[in-house]
Amino acid sequence: MRIVNGISYRTKEDLEDSCVGLEQYQPGQPSVKDLFIRVTSGTSGTQPTVLAVSFAEVKKNIFAKGRRLFAEPLLVVLPRNLSSLQWVQLFFDPAAESSRILFLSRRELEHPLLAKIIDEFQPRHVFSTVSLFDFLLDTLATRNGLSGLAAVERLFITGETLSHTVKQKFEALVPEAAIEMSYGISEVGGGVGAYCATLYKRHPDSFGRAYHPLLPLSIVEPDENGVGEIALTTRELGPYLTGDAGRLVAEPCACGATETLFVEGRINYDIVHCVGATFHAALVEKIFASLREYVEDYYLEIREVQGEGKTLGFVACTVVPTAKLRAMKNGVEYVCEFLEKNLQITKTQSLGDLVRVDIFMKPFITYAEILPKSVKYIRMRKVD
């Protein structure tokens, strides 16, 4: 719990190892149809939280606008089976009007006949995450199977920030599709910020950053530019600090919304997403703590780079070596191997595992006498 201006906010740490929101579950009642289970947390470094999340408010918001959120056929490609169930159940609702839905699990995504499945389905709308859709495109492109996506008009992307490199790739490989992004956090089902085409006409440089709030939001402890931590309130969580930095501006939009949320990334970059993997600052710190004899200080830059036919993750690591590391003949290789072996970046895989399967490039380690002042308090950062 963190108390700010007399309000007690829950944080992600408060939710660890618990089950939240289950009191609203009434087995056998129709209200169950609007409830979903979500399991949060990115890596083995944190304990998962199970949340029973109500979608009733979100559905009301979506369908009250009198528009269909998705047209059929809708292809759903999400990393969690639970998320797929949530969205399939939501759009299987008669009110959603979209009922021709196909979701792909890992088995289909890794199947040699993936292109055949998509070709047969011919989706018009796709709902996916940045990293998974990127993986899908890479797989289809290498098998000459992009024709199945030729009819896609709308690509609805969530999960992480869309880098410029990846956006350009999506636009090139699915040229007819309008790309829409939403802002969400795993603790809330159904999104926190909504896409609005009018908004991007007004703020053309803010694609993937500017949204209309879907929930009651506020900015906690804003700085002189109005940027502070995004706080929200839901039935399950109460007042909750997201760990994301943002700015909330009151401005009327042609769509009827009255506020715009500008998302500025993670507070202190405590979490960085890259090609489907998640770097937790706490876990990175733990790794370097066990290298203390060799490394005095460190700074990680994480980025997506365009490899041959696919997007790869890349970690550049600057270290201030101790005398002991300097004296080692193969000091750079030692740090590199240690990182690869010990840095867990998915629930089950280390950085080295992802290097071996060509999802990440080998980390690049350089020595420095001292780190620049600008990185004094931030030990890792995502760069475009």
Partner: protein, 136 residues
């Protein structure tokens, strides 16, 4: 639409809301089921079936430990799945002792009568139910 496999060849099968609702997955004697099939397509479809009965399902993820952690937090009282997946749970249950308390295990299968003895050992408190489905 659902992806089904003939051997290892995928094909699309149309399933309507009515098809799913009318499927027979046994009488519901539980409130917090885990749905765990080798095919995620099957898990999602059975999850949708439970929604039609106003029961909130937890469905399995690819990684069995994540599934078990979530199942323990949710406090599952039943597991609905195929025998191969249930055997994976059986191996993991020693690491998640709360799961041994589940009251119902519903084994959904397509061929013959599977060997359920091992499940009885891993889940001593559970009543086992077997549902044989026709090939779709």
């Amino acid at each position: 639409m659902k992806v089904v496999y003939e051997g290892d060849v995928p094909r699309l099968l149309a399933r309507t809301r009515k098809d799913i609702e009318e499927a027979d997955c046994g009488r519901i004697m539980y409130q917090r089921p885990l749905v765990f099939f080798g095919s995620a397509q099957e898990s999602v479809e059975k999850g949708l079936w439970l929604y039609t009965k106003n029961i909130l399902p937890l469905i399995a993820e690819e990684h069995v430990d994540i599934t078990c952690m979530a199942a323990a937090r949710y406090g599952i009282d039943a597991i609905l799945g195929d025998i191969a997946s249930l055997k994976k749970m059986e191996e993991a249950v020693s690491r998640y002792p709360d799961l041994a308390k589940v009251a119902h295990i519903i084994v959904v299968g397509k061929h013959g009568e599977p060997d359920l003895k091992c499940l009885k050992q891993a889940f001593p408190a559970a009543t086992l139910h077997l549902i044989l489905l026709c090939e779709s």
